[in-house]
């Protein structure tokens, strides 16, 4: 839920959590991919 009062945005935590969640997901996913590919190449 988001609305603006007097030019100031109020709320919008759903956007904040989406942004942070996507960041954590992408960084963790990429780290896991590197770990997995590293193990594969080591074999």
């Amino acid at each position: 839920m988001i609305f603006a009062t007097g030019g100031v945005i109020v709320g919008g935590w759903n956007f904040v959590w989406t942004a942070y969640g996507a960041t954590w997901l992408v960084l963790a996913g990429y780290a896991l991919s590197l770990w997995w590919r590293g193990r594969k190449e080591a074999r």
Binding site: I2, G12, V16, Y20, A22, W24, L27, A31, G38
Partner: protein
Amino acid sequence: MPSGYIPGALGLALFVVLVAAAKLAGGKVRDNWEHGIGLYGLGLFLWGQYSGLFVAPREAMMGDVGRILYVHVPAAWISMMAFTWAFAGSFGSLMLQAPQQLPKILGATGAGGALGIAAAVALDGTPRKLAAFFGVLLVLAFLECLVLYLGHRFFGWDADSADHFAESSTETGIVLGLLLLFLGAVFAKPTWGTYWTWDPRLTASAIMVLTFVGVSLLRATVSDPDTRRSWVSVATVIAYINIPITYMAVKWWRTMHQLQSTPNTLDSDMTFWLRVNAWAFLFLAMWFVARGWRIAAARAAAEAPPPLPPAREVAR
């Protein structure tokens, strides 16, 4: 607030210590040193993300939505940084095709850079700007060649290892660049009322990511290793031209995207938490690139043809 540079200075000092330890100790330390910098980055990341969500003050106009700043801006900075590493790796790969020429190139770029800077000091107006531009460019080329020379001499860098570094940096830059575009869209909706607009900064950022995706596709489609290395290096150097354009787009074409924030335009608490998150992204990116560099080198070694038999066996 303490200086936001302290976590970065500590991390960079740790990086130097780890690289030195890897060089001196060899063995397992040499093969795993980057985990130290990765763990440091992870610690900073957890601290920075928690603080960005719950400790940093609300932005004056955007309210809590402004907290997206602490992931969006580091993703932008560090994706450009990773593409800069890719450029440095590709330029290095081209230079290291003839490493014996490096001392001459060092002399030429050093002298040219000094001349350009001296001319910039002596001249005025447009000639001064031109002299400063080319002087700084040559000084940067000199510094890169110096790093390459030292890397070649003390760490055995060659054209292939520089290319593997560029490959890994490009991949990291693309991952962070795609994240940047997504975060930008999520940030734009509550603040601009739309997920996407053809603003020059947004368009240049999208072109930046797509161009490096193209470089990666080129790498995947050329089978001969030497041709691939040369073509991809040239393509990366050309693709990099868009990075300064992307960075400067908000100054050159003023539309929707705001100008770069500075410590003068940002609350000191917000500056601190922004820097903590940026350092976290940087050290995590360093871990990504180091791991990717090892993977690229191992894959190239596995793909290399077996060595030829000794000459005597061939004669028999």
